[in-house]
């Protein structure tokens, strides 16, 4: 009787521990976190006319949002590249860009994000004659807090067909 009671208590305890364990596993490891980084970014894009060199600050804002249902944590990566200036290597022409993006990613210790942006001369109707730049961003996260811990970025020529 006693043994049976003990067994019952053990079972209840195991169930309780198991439930707590499941609860802990289900709980997100961290709360929602937003990190901002400004990364000095350089690179060049080869166009049919000339090479365009880019330089300037890339502003990143990353919000990591745990899934209360236990799914992967989402990282919403906001990219602001409009402060990066381009200069034609031969002509000296100045180029602006409309490089804004909000990208959904899955939180991981490191993440390589590739996106593109259009660049063009800062003249009326300039946005009608654009070229494309490839922006590669290397992100490093602190998985215990969900915060962005490091970022680098570069600009290059896309090779899409």
């Amino acid at each position: 009787m006693t043994t049976r009671n003990r067994s019952g208590m053990h079972r209840e305890l195991l169930v309780l521990v198991g439930a707590l364990g499941c609860l802990l596993l289900a709980l997100p490891a961290h709360a929602q976190a937003t990190s901002t980084f400004t990364v000095q970014t350089t690179g060049s894009v080869t166009t049919p006319a000339e090479v365009v060199n880019f330089s300037g600050p890339l502003q990143l804002s990353v919000t990591t949002v745990p899934d209360p249902a236990g799914g992967p944590t989402t990282a919403v990566v906001s990219v602001e590249a409009t402060q990066i200036a381009g200069t034609g290597a031969t002509s000296g022409t100045s180029f602006i860009n409309s490089g804004q993006a909000r990208l959904t990613r899955i939180l991981a210790a490191t993440d390589v994000v590739q996106t593109t942006f259009a660049f063009y001369q800062d003249v009326p109707g300039g946005f009608l004659k654009t070229r494309t730049a490839l922006l590669t961003i290397n992100l490093t996260y602190d998985l215990t807090t969900g915060a962005l811990s490091g970022a680098t970025a570069s600009i290059s020529t896309p090779t899409f067909r």
Binding site: P66, T104, Q114, A118
Partner: protein, 727 residues
């Protein structure tokens, strides 16, 4: 009215019971069985992901015959609905609902009921009916799928990828691909029962009477396993009286019609530019038959900054919007104005001359193309009928991509500028679009409205359900004979939210994504140089926003969208589901009840609303009916509003854990409107709320009663509940 003591909802069980009752038939049982099998997954071998599980809930992937390759069929343009004389309508439309009695089918309870399903009396009379009498009639019938013998794409076959079908001798068939069987009349319900989807063309100052007949089966079990035969059509983005908004509770039944009056007016017409003296506030006129030149624009009252361009219309039946829209109850509505007249050659100092064409004075479709994107699923074997999982409350995903309701098509273009009005008409899927060569698209509009300034983008933002992006692509940069594709970069693993955005390189690489809807889905084929020089323009300035800064902010409200909703009302207007909306931080999440008034802005006032996502596991594209909003901040930060969201909008994606703060002015019309998630599975279960404008003068009353629709007639009931902060 009930007190605000909440009861826990037994939502899922109730939902299943309701679905089985309404769904009826063996297919509902099939669906039930499918949900008992642990997440049966569909696997499509033709997506760029190649071999991949998307949880459609079906027993297998959508049937794909061996000879059904991508880009093996042309994309049909929309089917332009005829604009008829109002005098052709019989009976003639009335200001108040036509309550002439008729016998009601025994399957609907028998007895007698009104021929028009619009709620009766002065409360649901057409506002402004005598002031803005209908000048054009568009008459449609909601019915089961059949062959189309009267297809009118609005352009010759040379501008419709060579499509010549759609005649009595060569009908356009209701199927997703020529190698697939026709969809049956119970599986697919569309406007006029046919494909392609329908397009209404209207212009400012020319009121349309949209008469819709419900010719669906009276027996609600004849639904192919999903969908319901009572309907309510929402003119999405319409600035009309609520009686014409497609209120979720103002539904009508088989053998009834509903007259929707769309006056097509510039917002502010009662207080701004009332003398119609501003040349920017105008409607395009016809060509002078003698000179061949356009007659002077017809100037209209209102604020030209409120000019709209791209709407759509779709079913909004309470608790069944996802199923009915998925079955095909969706069309688009192009609005034409002096600014955006659909003629690229008219140079009158007002016309923006966006890509369109020039043969007609207004409304040319030659180079102005509607694209309706929607993921679908069908049975894993012939007869390959449309499939929907009525037991999935997270959000439904299809494993096949359709454009204008055909599977992965191609579209022939000339080497010149085109405008594409892109609609996300999916149930739960977000898209992120790019061209396969990474080149630029110019976004000119967001939702119904042209942006203040065009934005050159190589990747569009994630596009939520019901959002519309107007873009311009200049194909003159391609050589004749070349091809370029639209590509979807946004991957889903379930219907809750996007799982991740891929890079273009990854989206183009087979096997990189497990989602078959990621990758190329529409192929543009550059087939010739333009027959005439391309004189279209994309100006640096399009339509600046209305200036609301001088108006005092009358109220600020907060709406939080989340799960774990409760329902404390039990009437026919209430529904339980996992989803809900918390208003102004009061109590719990409320599950939908269209008898509950959650907000009631004063007529003419300006308010600021903050929409918050209550969790991180979900995304919600929130639609606010009737009024356009301007986004002031994202996540509380004005700097986080991107260039393409700096115009007016009516759908606001929250993103996981995110918020949107926006401002709106409430004016011109009144009645009961809605706000809801446009992931329509969330909306139906039960993330929807009612708000109203009820102090705009006669015939309004405060609070407004709730319409209770039955086949035997619509009655009114007092509101179930009024939230303390509503008024």
């Amino acid at each position: 009215m009930n007190p605000r003591s909440k009861q826990t909802s037994a939502s899922r069980a109730r939902r299943i019971v309701k679905a089985v009752i309404f769904g009826g038939g063996a297919l509902a049982v099939t669906a039930a069985v499918a949900t008992l099998v642990p997440r049966a997954r569909a696997d499509s071998g033709t997506g760029s992901g190649g071999g991949v599980p998307i949880p459609t809930g079906a027993a297998g992937p959508s049937y794909v015959p061996l000879n059904m390759g991508k880009f093996s069929q042309p994309m049909p343009r929309f089917d332009v609905l005829p604009r008829k004389a109002v005098s052709s309508l019989n009976p003639a439309p009335l200001e108040q609902s036509n309550q002439t009695q008729q016998a009601v089918d025994p399957a609907l309870g028998g007895g007698f009921g009104p021929i028009e399903g619009r709620p009766p009396g002065p409360l649901w009379a057409h506002q402004g009916f005598t002031e803005f009498p209908p000048q054009v009639a568009v008459e449609v019938s909601m019915e089961g799928a059949k062959a189309n013998t009267t297809y009118n794409p609005g352009v010759p076959p040379s501008l419709n990828s060579g499509i010549t079908s759609g005649t009595a001798t060569n009908p356009f068939r209701p199927r997703f691909h020529p190698t697939l069987p026709d969809q049956t009349a119970t599986k697919m319900w569309t406007f006029n029962g046919t494909l392609p989807p329908k397009l209404v063309q209207g212009r400012y100052g020319e009121a349309i009477l949209f008469r819709e007949h419900n010719n669906l089966p009276a027996d609600k079990t004849q639904n192919g396993g999903f969908g319901i035969n009572s309907i309510s059509t929402h003119e999405h983005n319409g600035h009309h009286g609520a009686e014409n908004d497609g209120f979720t509770g103002a539904f009508f039944f088989p053998n009834q019609f509903y007259d929707y009056h769309w006056p097509i007016l510039l917002a502010g017409f009662r207080t701004v530019n009332t003398g119609a003296t501003d040349p920017n506030a105008a409607s395009p006129n016809e060509f002078d038959p003698v000179t061949g030149q356009p007659l002077p624009n017809r100037q209209v009252a209102g604020d030209w900054h409120e000019t709209m361009s791209t709407h759509w219309f779709h079913d909004h039946m309470f608790s069944f919007t996802s199923q009915n829209v998925y079955k095909g109850m969706a069309g688009m509505f192009n609005l034409y104005s002096a600014l955006d007249r659909g003629n690229e050659a008219v140079d009158d100092g007002v016309n923006l001359r966006l890509p369109s064409g020039r043969a007609k004075s207004w409304g040319n479709l030659d180079y102005d193309v509607n694209l309706m994107l929607a993921d679908k699923a069908w049975d894993p074997a012939p007869p390959a009928q449309l499939w929907f999982n009525i037991f999935n409350f997270d959000g439904f995903l299809g494993d096949r991509m359709t454009v204008n309701l055909v599977d992965n098509p191609y579209f022939e273009v000339e080497a010149r500028k085109y405008r594409f009005r892109i609609l996300n008409a999916s149930v739960s899927r977000f898209f992120k679009l790019a061209l396969s060569d990474g080149s630029t698209m110019i976004q000119i509009g967001n939702d119904g409205n042209l942006l203040p300034h065009p934005v050159a983008l190589t990747e569009l933002d994630e596009m939520g359900i019901a959002e519309r992006y107007d873009i311009v692509i200049d194909f003159s940069r391609y050589s004749v004979g070349s091809r370029v594709n639209l590509v979807n970069l946004c991957e889903h693993q379930n219907g809750k939210k996007p799982s991740k955005d891929l890079s273009l390189a990854d989206a183009l690489t087979p096997g990189k994504s497990k989602d078959p809807v990621v990758g190329k889905f529409l192929e543009f084929r550059i087939v010739r140089r333009p027959a005439q020089p391309d004189v279209s323009q994309v100006p640096d300035t399009l339509i600046p926003n209305p200036d609301l800064a001088s108006l005092p902010v009358a109220r600020q409200r907060t709406f939080e969208f989340g799960s774990g909703a409760t329902q404390n009302n039990t009437g026919v207007t209430a529904f339980s589901g996992p989803w809900g909306i918390k208003t102004d931080d009061q109590g719990a999440m409320d599950a939908a009840d269209y008898g509950r008034i959650s907000a009631a802005p004063h007529a003419g006032s300006r308010e600021i609303w903050t929409l918050k996502n209550g969790g991180g596991g979900w995304d919600h594209p929130i639609h606010i009916h009737f009024e356009e909003g301007q986004i002031l901040a994202r996540d509380g930060d004005a700097a986080k509003v991107p260039a393409w969201e700096k115009g007016r909008k009516d759908v606001y994606r929250l993103r996981p854990g995110g918020s949107v703060t926006l401002t709106m002015q409430f004016r011109d019309f009144g009645g009961t409107f809605m706000e809801h998630c446009h992931n329509t599975v969330h909306e139906d279960n039960a993330m929807l709320m009612r708000w109203e404008i009820d102090d705009g003068g006669a015939p309004f009353m405060r609070p407004l009663p709730t319409p209770i629709s039955t086949p035997q007639g619509c009655t009114y009931a007092p509101p179930d509940e009024i939230l303390p902060t509503a008024f």
